[in-house]
């Protein structure tokens, strides 16, 4: 399809020093654009797509790591505190990337369609919401009737401990929920996990009596933030204050910290996922996905392996739940709806189930579509409504457009479209997963016969 002329250029660009130059140029260009016009969505897109360039072009590992670290640890925080909306976008991308990577283990590797994944997210979130707030002392009071001077149960330091406790609790929840149902065939399992997701949400909504565990639909607030060393704010200001242009408040610094925490979790997940994928456990998961009957005949214990996938996936969601509770300081059942589960699923499907870079790309794309494109459309529509513009042929004045039409609220449409289109046209996702190529010393003999 591509004319030879371009093909030649592309092949040449993929060789020698060029990839390094392209990657750096893209990164610098994006940074400069965002730096000069901090409100432009387009500039931000240019910056964030430099990750794609970094992934696409082949360079040496060390170069990639360094550029990736500069982007995530230096450029994003600085750009983020200059425009706090970007930081929110980056933070949400990280959170959803982590969730999608967790779900990817269940859906992508083991081939188990889990439609209630946010249940584990909720478990983590409510775990810290309960222990990191006044809720323990609210237990005897109906929602809204508690005295106002109740103390917090645990100090902010405990947050970090609870990130680890959440791994355990969420994994246990996963095993408890999974044990009775993992024997089921795939499509039944999907519906049952959906049911579990709803059960957890309904419980969160209603466990405000007889004892008030969850404060019902109103949710729990305030929730303790983790302690942040004061030196962090001063240090950041001393190092980057000049670049940012103003002194960063501790509140903004919190957001940077949560972003970095999420990033840390992602790194751990990627590490764990890759190690597991390339071992007995990962091979068993893939075998189960490919053919259950053959897998069990080869001695792979189905239920135990599926439980392991469920537990590992759940534990990551649990950690992210604690992180969410700490960063938002407010948790309500609404954050854990079926739609959230499908949102995470659409990220996995869009990017490519089983593929780590794919899933991260999927999470970034869906989040940006969600936060920037849909909301941008909303903004644009409301501007149109206030203008006296008219759609030419049908002679429809924008001012008459229903106020109820708010594209930002059409996430279901977005998720639905992604799922349908991907299934029909590209079920393997944008970046399909690839099996590792092994260096097989004895295997070269008559290659290419």
């Amino acid at each position: 399809m591509i004319p030879h002329f371009f093909k030649d250029i592309i092949t040449r660009l993929e060789q020698g020093i060029y990839p390094h130059i392209i990657i750096l140029a893209h990164m610098v260009l994006g940074t400069a654009l965002v730096y000069t016009s901090p409100r432009s969505n387009l500039a931000f897109l240019v910056l964030i797509t430099s990750f794609f360039t970094l992934y696409y072009f082949k360079t040496d590992r060390r170069f990639k790591l360094i550029v990736g670290a500069v982007l995530t640890l230096f450029i994003f925080p600085v750009v983020g505190v200059r425009n706090i909306f970007y930081l929110e976008v980056i933070f949400q991308i990280s959170v959803f990337a982590a969730l999608a990577l967790g779900l990817n283990i269940v859906v992508g590797f083991a081939g188990l369609l889990d439609l209630g994944y946010v249940a584990f997210y909720a478990v983590g979130a409510y775990l810290w919401a309960f222990f990191g707030s006044q809720q323990f002392y609210v237990l005897p009071f109906a929602p809204g009737t508690q005295p106002s001077n109740l103390p917090f149960l645990l100090p902010g330091d405990a947050f970090y401990l609870f990130m680890f406790i959440a791994i355990l609790i969420a994994a246990i929840t996963g095993i408890l929920l999974g044990t009775p149902v993992l024997r089921l065939r795939g499509d039944y399992l999907a519906i049952v996990t959906l049911g579990f997701g709803e059960v957890i949400r309904v419980l969160a909504n209603n466990l405000d009596k007889p004892l008030n565990f969850t404060n019902g639909p109103q949710g729990i607030t305030p929730i303790q933030r983790p302690t942040m060393p004061l030196a962090a704010v001063d240090g950041f200001n001393a190092l980057f204050g000049g670049l940012v242009g103003h002194d960063v408040s501790p509140a903004d610094m919190y957001n940077v910290m949560f972003y970095l925490l999420a990033l840390g979790v992602i790194i751990v997940i990627v590490f764990v996922t890759r190690r597991l994928d390339d071992s007995k456990i990962g091979r068993a998961w893939t075998a189960i996905r490919e053919d259950e009957t053959a897998a069990i005949a080869m001695g792979v214990p189905l239920v135990r392996m599926k439980l392991a996938a469920f537990a590992v996936g759940a534990s990551f969601a649990g950690v992210m739940g604690v992180l969410l509770a700490g960063s938002r300081t407010f948790i309500s059942p609404e954050s854990f709806s079926f739609m959230q589960s499908i949102g995470v699923l659409s990220m996995v499907i869009l990017g490519g189930s089983g593929s780590i870079p794919g899933v991260i790309l999927g999470a970034a794309t869906v989040t940006i579509l969600n936060l920037q494109v849909l909301q941008g459309l909303s903004l644009y529509l409301s501007q149109l409504r206030q203008s006296d513009a008219v759609i030419p042929i049908i002679n429809f004045a924008w001012a008459n457009l229903s106020n109820q039409l708010d594209p930002a609220k059409y996430q279901r449409l977005l998720f639905g479209l992604i799922l349908i289109l991907m299934m029909i046209f590209r079920p393997e996702g944008l970046i399909p997963s690839q099996r590792r190529k092994r260096e097989l010393a004895h295997d070269e003999d008559d290659n290419g016969k």
């Binding site: 075998a287 001695g299 189905l302 099996r435 190529k437 295997d443 070269e444």
Partner: protein, 264 residues
């Protein structure tokens, strides 16, 4: 002592009796065939041996221990390995990974070893990779370790399935129509491979086969099934002249090309 001994095994599906009181003995180190017309219950019998189905009645003793109520993976770890009538490879995994899955029951690496790539993990992975390559060579697959299994030609997929089954280092190998769809040359090669597996590795082989050239060529003992029952048993010479066998085949043998009962 017999390696495998079944006593009055019965398997029913609703009203249909697929396997009816089959008693059967198999000594270690032999090559034995089960033959019979389509729908005779051969594959169902295989599936009861490997735990995919649980028989309603009867006993199955393997290597001195009962296989009663064991799951397929537990039976696999007791030393029974199998191939499938309609090849069931892990299509999107590489050839070498397919074989490594076959070694699952023998790998001792723990999650901790795996996560931190402790020396034991590295050693075990390297060792199993070496064994897998050996097995590839053994069954006649070379230079395709990184290919996806589904991209192999038909004959290669059959061989890979055998290599995967051998990777479990079984005591007994169950082969479900291993020569189906092969040309005469390939068939001859694969017969030679089975002999070598038995002679060199000492693995007992039990196979279902329709191709009488294969059956008569390789079997030391033949067991004939029809309508779920064992109707005859003997050496190839005896079976060739058994009137009940001829009747079973000529009576219904004309109905060719029908699908066998499928598993799961």
């Amino acid at each position: 002592m017999a390696l495998l001994e079944t006593t009055n095994v019965v398997k029913k599906f609703g009203g249909l009796i697929a396997v009816n009181r089959v008693s059967f003995q198999l000594d270690a180190g032999r090559i034995i065939s089960i033959i019979g017309p389509n729908g005779a219950g051969k594959t169902t019998f295989f599936n009861t041996l490997t735990g995919i189905y649980h028989p309603e009645e009867g006993r199955i003793i393997f290597n001195g221990k009962s296989l009663h109520k064991l799951r397929p993976d537990q039976i696999a770890s007791r030393g029974i390995s199998r191939t499938f009538q309609n090849i069931r490879l892990f299509g999107n995994m590489s050839v070498i990974e397919n074989i490594l899955v076959g070694m699952h029951v023998h790998l001792k690496q723990s999650p901790i070893d795996t996560l931190f790539h402790l020396p034991f993990f590295k050693k075990e992975e390297k060792e199993s990779e070496r064994k897998a390559l050996e097995l590839m060579t053994y069954v006649g697959l070379k230079g395709v370790g990184n290919e996806l299994a589904r991209n192999l030609p038909y004959g290669g997929q059959r061989r890979l399935e055998i290599a995967r089954a051998l990777a479990a280092a079984p005591l007994m190998l169950l082969l479900d129509e291993p020569a189906a769809g092969m040309n005469p040359q390939e068939t001859e090669d694969i017969i030679r491979l089975f002999r070598r597996i038995r002679d060199e590795k000492g693995i007992t082989i039990l196979l279902i086969e329709h191709d009488m050239r294969v059956v008569m060529n390789i079997s030391e003992w033949i067991c004939v099934m029809d309508h779920g029952e064992k109707i005859a048993e003997g050496t190839p010479q005896e079976i060739r002249s058994d009137s009940r066998v001829i009747e079973a085949y000529l009576g219904r043998g004309a109905v060719a090309g029908q699908h066998e009962e499928k598993i799961a």
